[in-house]
Subunit: 334 residues, 2 copies
């Protein structure tokens, strides 16, 4: 026998479908006796509410399409980070589909009093879910009332506590970079970042370097190096000692540290984090911010639906690999 609809339960009990609907939700307008009769018949017939129908109906009943507010904590305003536009807009779009609107809070994580005030204000306004990051600076154990909210952090900047996280798949991207260099005949890559981005990709670069040379015949004892932008002599010494034939590089030194750039300008290199949004004149990684925004909102929605708050026992990590973009045809002038 197929599962019955609410209408069929109503017919069988000789009452209206509306009464059945209210009874199943234990509405106080229905007598306890009727509620008990309805629930018992529903259980014996294997009736299940369809949650998508139920949610849709309950919102339609409200007439106004009320949207719950999600807070998003950043240390730099979204307007000042236009390269993250896809992240914000895809999270917003997915949020709208799920019944949320986003409000941004640009906060100074060093100012503990201000941070507590912002969190208190969110709570007072009924905000239950918060997104955190990506941040300009690494952040360790900020003073936040974790247990009051559901949290998803974006990017690698929050060092601790360990929250559910959405970010980039550095391991996959580095391994793609290596395959590119290898295809061009380079098999003695150096793995280089610098102190401005060490907290983001230091560990993935170190791991890739160790695995790469682990069984290589041609060893490099010190294949991973964190450059200091104002210490070109140190970098020159590292280059001379290790003689890499190519580089997997966090971010190009061009326009950031001229002397460092000059030392490696002749080496083939793949840059993990090229500047976003500029014209693409050479093949490069393009981060998939749309998928990250999408996933962060979906994950937060799940936490809110399940009532999961605070620092998770088992954290879930979602990582997205980047696209590799070959340069398009040159644009015509004017």
């Amino acid at each position: 026998m197929p599962r019955p609809t609410m209408r069929q339960l109503a017919r069988e009990l000789g009452i209206s479908a509306a009464t059945v609907s209210l009874a199943l939700r234990s509405d106080s307008r229905i007598t306890p006796e009727t509620t008990a009769r309805v629930k018992s018949l529903a259980a014996s017939r294997g009736y299940h509410a369809d949650p998508v129908v139920a949610e849709g109906m309950s919102r339609a009943r409200r007439h106004d399409f009320y949207r719950e507010t999600i807070g998003w904590f950043l240390d730099v305003s979204p307007q000042a980070q236009p390269w993250l536009g896809d992240l914000f807009s895809s999270a917003g779009e997915r949020g709208r589909m799920l019944g949320y609107q986003i409000e941004f809070f640009t906060v100074d994580f060093e100012d503990k009093a201000a941070l507590r005030r912002t969190a208190r204000m969110c709570r007072a306004r009924g905000i239950r879910g918060l997104l955190l990051g990506p941040l300009e600076h690494a952040l360790v154990d900020p003073v936040l009332p974790w247990g009051d909210f559901s949290w998803v952090t974006i990017g690698q900047s929050l060092v601790s506590p360990a929250l559910h996280r959405v970010g980039r798949d550095y391991d996959k991207d580095i391994s793609f970079a290596l395959s590119r260099l290898r295809a061009q005949g380079w098999c003695r890559p150096g793995f280089v970042d610098d102190n401005t981005m060490h907290h983001l990709m230091g560990l993935p670069l170190l791991r890739a370097a160790l695995v790469h040379y682990h069984r290589a015949e041609d060893k490099m004892s010190d294949a991973y190096y964190t450059a200091k932008l104002d210490r070109p002599a140190d970098f020159a010494r590292w280059l001379k000692r290790n003689r890499p034939d190519s580089l997997v590089l966090g971010k190009s030194f061009e326009e950031r540290a001229v002397e460092l750039h000059r030392l490696v300008a002749h080496l083939p290199q793949v840059e993990l984090s090229p500047p976003d949004g500029t014209v693409c004149t050479q093949a490069r990684f393009v981060r998939d911010y749309a998928s990250m925004g999408h996933s962060a909102m979906t994950l937060l929605h799940r936490l809110l639906a399940d009532g999961e708050k605070g620092i998770p026992r088992n954290e879930q990590t979602i990582v997205v690999s980047s696209a590799w973009q070959e340069p398009g045809p040159a644009e015509l002038p004017g």
Copy 2:
């Protein structure tokens, strides 16, 4: 001005709300002129349909709660893998919420003709989304019509192609295991798996071993070892050469390889994959299958909603860290 409801648009146009609703969906029962008037007013007033309402209403209209079928490919039937019960039930539960039902297909991935037949049958039955794995055996490039379906693979057994994937966070679990051993004063761990599970955790163990000894004063040249269950002499040689004081172990050799087990029974060890579901007499990892099943279904739903089929350009990977369970109070006999 707040965004208008359908009812307000209807009032303004002097037509019924039902007509507005049909016109916004370009229903053929409404004249093209009326449809154009409605859509133009809706656009100028900033009217947006709420997709949750719309989906709920459209399902309620159908009365029957039709559920789309999701196929799930395994190489061993779900009944024969009771330890994966939470995985199957949480995916099923989340699926029901989203309007899906699951059908399992136990397939022999070596039998290409049968594999193609199963895929053809899924297509003929209107199945659009498929889950794949976890599998008993590693699987490389099975002959499947990737472009015909949306795919999510579960676990590490599908080696290629690279699909969206849900699995365990081995990196986090290994680093937790190391912190346990370190807290007990052991700082010369060996990292050991064997050929039955090498494809699952070989790379995470190798990476962890290389990073651990990279800056250690007390080096171990060969800290990661893949044991062969029938070669105890080789294992004894590795132990003698490297003298680990403890082990991060894929799976205990007890009851699998007595001689190997005897060689390391005296060493403190953390086992990454203890047998599921037995009584817990010592602290151990418990995999979070519920969260994996949940996430796999949510991700597949997103792919289906976005019409994303085939092998993805940017694959998304969701990993979940395991819980650490201390033994409960001993059960009373009888």
